[in-house]
């Protein structure tokens, strides 16, 4: 199987009846990087929350690395999908950086040595090796974002899913985060409003609006279609 992420005809309504996803289909092959763009309320975050079963799908098919996202597979899928939330404060809730990055491996029941190795590797990947003993609460937003990414890298995920990775960053922190994302080899889905980053970094772009996929194609052609962008409230 070549597809890491398989989303087929997924629809979802919130309990108040508000439909958030309508017949969404999306496939990512191994190592592929996709940007998810669209206005607020388009259904981007809802789709991301489906990928590791935080929101249970109501119809359609959803598989990660060939594993159906449901029931007894959920634990396995959550280790395979590294979901990085928009606000790193939601993700960092332990006293030290080490504890936060170690959460996933400890939860998986890995041995203590293995946990330490995983944490070191993950921190090295985001270039924050010397931060292990630091207190998460006191880090800058840019540092917190990197640590939040490390907290999922320590699970060795097959897919990285990032919600608004550059939101709230100053230009320097944004630049260094973009360079970090460029280095990471994982299959990646990035939901964002930062179109310049998409243009620079991500070869394929999916436009979402009103819970539907409005366009899906090479970034160069999608972002150079002024009619399409205007129709979905996007600006370069």
């Amino acid at each position: 199987m070549s597809c890491v992420v398989e989303v087929e005809h997924i629809s979802f309504s919130y309990p108040d009846g508000h439909p958030a996803l309508r017949d969404v289909s999306l496939e990512l092959s191994h190592g592929e990087k996709v940007a998810l763009v669209g206005p607020n309320g388009a259904g981007k975050s809802t789709l991301l929350l489906h990928l590791n079963g935080i929101l249970p799908r109501q119809s359609g098919r959803l598989a990660i690395s060939g594993l159906d996202v449901s029931g007894k597979n959920l634990g396995r899928v959550r280790a395979l999908v590294g979901l990085v939330f928009q606000s790193p404060d939601d993700q960092l809730f332990s006293p030290t950086v080490f504890d936060d990055v170690a959460f996933g491996p400890i939860y998986q029941g890995l041995a203590a040595d293995e946990v330490r190795t995983r944490v070191e590797e993950a921190l090295a990947l985001v270039h924050m090796e010397e931060y292990a003993a630091r207190v998460s609460h006191h880090l800058s937003v840019g540092e917190k974002k990197r640590i939040a990414i490390a907290t999922v890298l320590s699970m060795k995920p097959a897919v990285l899913v990032l919600d608004e990775p550059t939101a709230g960053l100053d230009p320097r922190a944004r630049r260094s985060l973009i360079e970090l994302l460029r280095e990471l080899p994982q299959t990646m889905i990035v939901a964002t409003h930062d179109l310049p980053m998409v243009k620079e970094l991500i070869p394929r772009t999916v436009v979402m609006d009103h819970g539907q996929i409005a366009a899906d194609g090479p970034t160069a052609s999608v972002l150079c279609d002024p009619v399409l962008l205007a129709e979905h409230g996007l600006e370069m």
Binding site: G75, R76, R78, L83, L92, Y107, G109
Partner: protein
């Protein structure tokens, strides 16, 4: 995204109960619950009359009786605490059960009385919460001479409740998202119970710190708009003669019910 709106129990409907002044509603609900509390055990006719009053108010509120019954069930598990009185109250004919237990008649009477009083009272409280917006309840509390500082604190709490509950839900979600399994044998997922408790504690601690910092920002924003520690509010609208009439009428009915209960069953 799912949000914490489910917390607000207010149900907007056009109804005379919704329109009734919050002060009157709060007073009447309190008097009603006090009446139920003061009614003697086994005063079934009194309970029937109180239930009839509650049911009529519920009908008039346009929310449907089912809504009230469904919510009132939520408050019932506590009756477990009263279950032992079935067996320990002396007196009356006995109904023998296995394990050497025996239900006495007066035990049954006491248990049913407690459960009924509780069930009737909680319906009145539900009526208040679902037909009155929270700002109106705050206004009523202020009008009934609750310290203004306290009302101000509760008002601010209500304002940020939704924000902070959302924050907690996002944290729980972020934890859930990383609660994975290796899929290989030999690894038992979940960690130890102590570790899980410590993680929950870390969440509570960081929630506390972030809330403290948020309160600083809110304080600055209040200062920026001229806050000086004094809580001011607009004067309350005057009560209409009809409001007074209703208040007096129902209070008289409640006092009558109370008197009958006390005299006949007290």
């Amino acid at each position: 995204m799912s949000h914490a709106h489910f917390l607000d129990p207010y149900q907007d409907r056009p109804s005379p109960v919704h329109r009734l002044d919050a002060r009157i509603k709060l007073l009447l609900v309190t008097a009603f619950i006090l009446t139920a509390s003061l009614s003697p055990l086994g005063a079934w006719p009194v309970y029937i009359l109180l239930l009839a009053l509650a049911l009529s108010a519920e009908l008039l509120s346009n929310l449907g009786i089912r809504f009230y019954f469904k919510r009132a069930v939520l408050a019932l598990p506590f009756v477990l605490a009263a279950l032992p009185v079935l067996f320990t109250t002396p007196g009356g004919a006995q109904l023998s059960l296995p394990l050497g237990l025996a239900v006495t008649l007066s035990g049954l009477e006491r248990f049913l009385s407690i459960a009924l009083k509780s069930w009737i009272s909680v319906q009145a409280a539900i009526l208040l919460a679902s037909t009155t917006t929270f700002p109106d309840i705050l206004m009523a509390l202020r009008a009934l001479r609750l310290p203004r500082l306290m009302v101000a604190v509760i008002g601010l709490m209500w304002r940020y409740l939704f924000v902070i509950v959302d924050e907690v839900l996002r944290m729980l979600r972020a934890r859930q998202a990383r609660s994975g399994e290796t899929g290989q044998g030999g690894h038992k997922p979940g960690g130890t119970v102590f570790w899980r408790a410590k993680v929950a504690g870390g969440m509570a601690g960081s929630l506390f710190l972030r809330s403290l910092e948020r309160s600083d920002r809110i304080y600055n924003a209040m200062l920026a708009r001229g806050y000086d520690g004094e809580v001011r509010s607009l004067p309350h609208p005057a009560l209409q003669p009809a409001d007074w009439l209703l208040l007096g009428g129902i209070l008289i009915v409640l006092i009558f019910i109370l008197a009958v209960g006390q005299i006949a069953w007290g």
